[in-house]
C-alpha cells in the first residue's frame, strides 16, 4: 500500500464519510488514489471554503471535519479557515500537499512552510517524512482534534510520501505522552462551588461554546432550575440553553441583551461554564461581574485566570462537572433558591422585550429576523456571517437547541456563514440549513454557489442586503464622526442575477410579510436558494463601546414597552433594572 492509500484507509478507520477539498500539483498522487476510493469528496471553489465547510460540518455534528488543499497557495488559502476553527475550538483535520521531501527548504515551486505557518493556529500539526508514519499520525490527528478542548490539526503531506510503499497496520497505537486532557473536575473544588452556589442569593450562569461541545445542555438546564440561576450565553454558547425558557437572559456582551448585561452586573455569583471570557463578552474587565464570586468551569486550564480572576476554578469536562455539581448541591439541601431574584429578573425581562415588528420599508432587520424565526423550526441549523447580520441574529433570534447556531466568534471571519452552512447540511442532511449573511461577507465566498449547485446541497442563503459593510459603518457613525471611509458597497452586484448565473434559484424580498413565505417555500423546495433581502442600512443595534462596562450602552434598544425614540437609553434602563 502507498502513503496516500494509507491516508485514505486511515480516514476510513476514523469514520470519515466526506471531505471538502481542492486538488493541485503536489496532491496529484493522493487525488489519483481518491479516484479509486469510496471516499465522498466535495470539490469546493476556494480552499478557504473547504476549511469553513469542514468547520461547519464539525460544529453541526460534533464529529471531526476534514478538508484537503494542495501545497503553497492551497495551504495559504486554508489558513483563514484553520484560524477560524482554532479560535472557536472546532475540531477539523486539514490535509495539505507539500513538495517532495528532497525539495523541502529549497523554495521549490509552490512550497510554503505550512508547518511553521500553522503552528500558532492549530492544536498540533504533523509532517510525515516517510509513509510508514502516516497511520499513527492520522490517528493522533483525529484524537487530538476531537478530544479535550477541540481544535484544528494540520497534516502536511509531501508528494513523494504519498507514493511511498508501506505495510499498513489497522490498529496502530498512538503515544502522546504530552497530551492528557483532564476530564473529571477536582472533587474538592466541586464541593466548594456547590456550597458557594447553594448560598448565593443572586446567581447567574454564563454558558459558552464548551457546553455545546460537551453535550451538557441537559445538565445546564437542570442546574439552572435547581438553583434558580438565570442563564446568559456567549455568542458561541447560543443554543446551549433554550432561549424561550423563563430563565433565559439571551446573549451577553457588547451586543448583548439588556437583561443579560444587567443581571451579570448585579449577580452575586457567576457560574461560567465552557467559556473563555472574551473581551466581546465581558466588556471592561474591572467592571465585569464586579459584585460576584466567580466559578469557572473549563476543560482548558490555560483559560482559567487568563482574562478574569476567578474564585473557584474547576478544570474538566463540563458534562461531568455539571452533573457532579448538581448532585453535590442537591445533597447539601441548602439551596436557598431565591424566588425574589428570579422574579426580579423575569420582571425586568418583561420590560425590555425587544420590539421585532416594523412595517417600514426598507425592511428593518428586526422584522427580517422575526420573519426568519417564523419560517424555520427548532431543528433548523442557522449559520451567520460576520457583521451586523451576525449581531442581529445573535441578539434577536431565539435559539432553542445546541448545535443549531453556528457563527464565527473568536476570529470574526467574514465569509464563514455560507460555506459553514454547506458543511452543516452535508453533515446533517435531515436538518434544514439557513445561512444569514451580509452582502459584503457573502460576496467573499459567492463562488460556492457553484458547489451547492453541482452537488445539489439545498441550503438557503439570506443575504441581508444593506449595501454597506454595515458593522464597520456603524462604528464609523458612532465613533468616527460619521466619516464613512470605504464602507459603502455601491450597487453591484445584483445578487439575484448572480445566483441565477450559477443556476441557483433566487428571490428578492423588499416588503414586510414577504420573507416568511419566500423562505418557507425555499426551504421546502429542497433546492439551494438565495434570497436577497433589501434592508435599512441606517438601523443600528445598540452596543457597549469597547473598553466600557457592560451596562454602559450607547443607542437605544427598541422594546415592546418603550417605543420612544429619544429617551436616552441609559437612564431608563438603569431605573428599570432597579438601580
Amino acid at each position: 500500500m502507498r502513503g496516500g492509500e494509507a491516508l485514505l484507509k486511515s480516514l476510513e478507520n476514523q469514520g470519515v464519510d466526506v471531505v471538502f477539498g481542492y486538488p493541485g500539483g503536489q496532491l496529484l498522487p493522493l487525488y489519483d488514489m481518491i479516484y479509486d476510493s469510496d471516499l465522498k469528496h466535495i470539490l469546493v471553489r476556494h480552499e478557504q471554503c473547504a476549511a469553513h465547510a469542514a468547520d461547519g460540518y464539525a460544529r453541526a455534528s460534533g464529529k471531526v471535519g476534514v478538508c484537503i488543499a494542495t501545497s503553497g497557495p492551497g495551504a495559504t488559502n486554508l489558513v483563514t479557515g484553520i484560524a477560524t476553527a482554532y479560535m472557536d475550538s472546532s475540531p477539523i483535520v486539514a490535509i495539505a500537499g507539500q513538495v517532495p521531501t528532497g525539495l523541502i527548504g529549497n523554495d521549490a515551486f509552490q512550497e510554503v512552510d505550512t508547518i511553521g505557518m500553522t503552528m500558532p493556529i492549530t492544536k498540533h500539526n504533523f509532517q510525515p517524512i516517510t509513509s510508514k508514519e502516516i497511520p499513527e499520525m492520522v490517528k493522533s490527528a483525529f484524537y487530538i482534534a476531537g478530544t479535550g478542548r477541540p481544535g484544528p490539526v494540520v497534516l502536511d503531506l509531501p508528494k513523494d510520501v504519498q507514493e511511498q510503499e508501506l505495510d499498513f497496520e489497522n490498529d496502530v497505537k498512538i503515544t502522546l505522552p504530552g497530551y492528557k486532557p483532564t476530564r473529571k473536575g477536582h472533587p474538592l473544588q466541586i464541593k466548594r462551588a456547590a456550597s458557594l452556589i447553594g448560598s448565593a442569593k443572586k446567581p447567574v450562569i454564563l454558558a459558552g461554546g464548551g457546553v455545546i461541545i460537551s453535550n451538557s445542555s441537559e445538565e445546564l438546564l437542570k442546574l439552572s432550575e435547581l438553583v434558580g440561576a438565570p442563564v446568559t450565553t456567549s455568542l458561541l454558547g447560543k443554543g446551549s440553553f433554550p432561549e424561550d425558557h423563563d430563565l433565559s437572559l439571551g446573549m451577553l456582551g457588547m451586543h448583548g441583551r439588556l437583561p443579560a448585561n444587567f443581571a451579570v452586573d448585579k449577580c452575586d455569583c457567576l457560574i461560567a461554564v465552557g467559556c473563555r471570557f472574551s473581551d466581546r463578552t465581558t466588556g471592561k474587565i474591572s467592571e465585569f461581574a464586579k459584585n460576584a464570586k466567580i466559578v469557572h468551569i473549563d476543560i482548558d486550564p490555560a483559560e482559567i485566570g487568563k482574562n478574569v480572576d476567578v474564585d473557584i476554578p474547576i478544570v474538566g469536562d463540563a458534562k461531568i462537572i455539571l452533573s457532579n455539581l448538581i448532585r453535590a448541591i442537591s445533597q447539601n439541601k441548602m439551596s436557598s433558591k431565591s424566588m425574589e431574584w428570579v422574579n426580579r429578573v423575569k420582571n425586568f425581562k418583561q420590560t425590555c422585550i425587544p420590539k421585532m415588528s416594523f412595517d417600514n420599508m426598507p425592511l428593518k432587520p428586526q422584522q427580517v429576523i422575526k420573519e426568519i424565526s417564523e419560517a424555520v423550526d427548532d431543528d433548523t441549523i442557522m449559520t451567520t456571517d460576520v457583521g451586523q447580520n451576525q449581531m442581529w441574529m445573535a441578539h434577536y433570534f431565539t435559539s432553542r437547541k445546541p448545535k443549531t447556531f453556528l457563527s464565527s466568534g473568536g476570529l470574526g471571519t467574514m465569509g464563514f456563514g455560507f460555506p459553514a452552512a454547506i458543511g452543516a447540511k452535508v453533515a446533517m442532511p435531515e436538518s434544514d440549513v439557513v445561512a444569514v449573511c451580509g452582502d459584503g461577507g457573502f460576496l467573499m465566498v459567492s463562488q460556492e454557489l457553484a458547489t451547492v449547485k453541482e452537488y445539489d446541497i439545498p441550503v438557503v442563503i439570506c443575504v441581508l442586503d444593506n449595501r454597506y459593510l454595515g458593522m464597520v459603518a456603524q462604528w464609523q457613525n458612532l465613533f468616527y464622526e460619521k466619516r464613512l471611509s470605504h464602507t459603502h458597497l455601491g450597487e453591484s452586484p445584483d445578487f439575484v442575477k448572480l445566483a441565477e448565473a450559477f443556476g441557483v434559484a433566487a428571490n428578492r424580498v423588499e416588503r414586510p410579510g414577504e420573507l416568511r413565505e419566500v423562505l418557507s417555500s425555499a426551504i421546502n423546495s429542497g433546492e439551494p436558494t438565495l434570497i436577497d433581502i433589501t434592508i435599512d442600512p441606517d438601523e443600528i443595534l445598540p452596543m457597549v463601546p469597547p473598553g466600557c462596562g457592560l451596562t454602559e450602552i450607547v443607542g437605544e434598544y427598541k422594546t415592546e414597552s418603550n417605543n420612544s425614540e429619544d429617551v436616552p437609553y441609559r437612564e431608563t434602563a438603569k431605573e428599570r433594572a432597579g438601580d
Partner: protein, 166 residues
Amino acid sequence: MDDQRTHIISALVLHKPGVLQRVAGLFTRRGFNIESITVGTSEQEDIARMTIIAKGDGKVLEQITKQLNKIIDVIKVRDLEPENTVKRELCLIKVHSPTEKVRAEVVQYVNIFRGRVIDVSPETLTIEMTGASDKIDALIDLVKGFGIKEIARTGPTAMSRGIKTI
C-alpha cells in the same frame, strides 16, 4: 499583583524537529519575555530538557506554564524554586592578551574564579567558565579591561536539589 521575578522553568519535551520553534513561537506570540533558553538531551531517550529563564509576575508565569503544557510535544513543565535549584551556565571568553604580563594577570583571575584556559594564541587567551550567571558576569567584568574579542554564553541550565526530579 506580585512583583516581577526571574523564573527558571524546566520542561521535558519530545526530541523532535520543530519543538523548539513551538516553544519559542509561543513566547513571542503571547508576549512573554524570555531571557534565555537552553535545550539538550535528558536522561531519557527521545526526550529533551529545556531550561527557560523568563521574567514576569505570578500571573504571567502561570500563563506561561499552562500555555507550554498545552503544546502537545511538551511532556512536563515545572517552575523551579530558586532556593532549591542548582543552576549553571557555561561561558567562553576570548580575551585580547598580547603580552606575557597580561596573560599572567588573566590566568590569575581565571584561577580565582575556577575557570580554565582552554586555548592560547600569541594574541589571545580563551577562557572557559562554568558557574552561576552572576559569577560569570563578575569574571567578564574583571577581564573586560584587557579587551574582549568574543563571548559565547549558553544561558543557564538547571535542576532541583536533592532527590526531587521534575
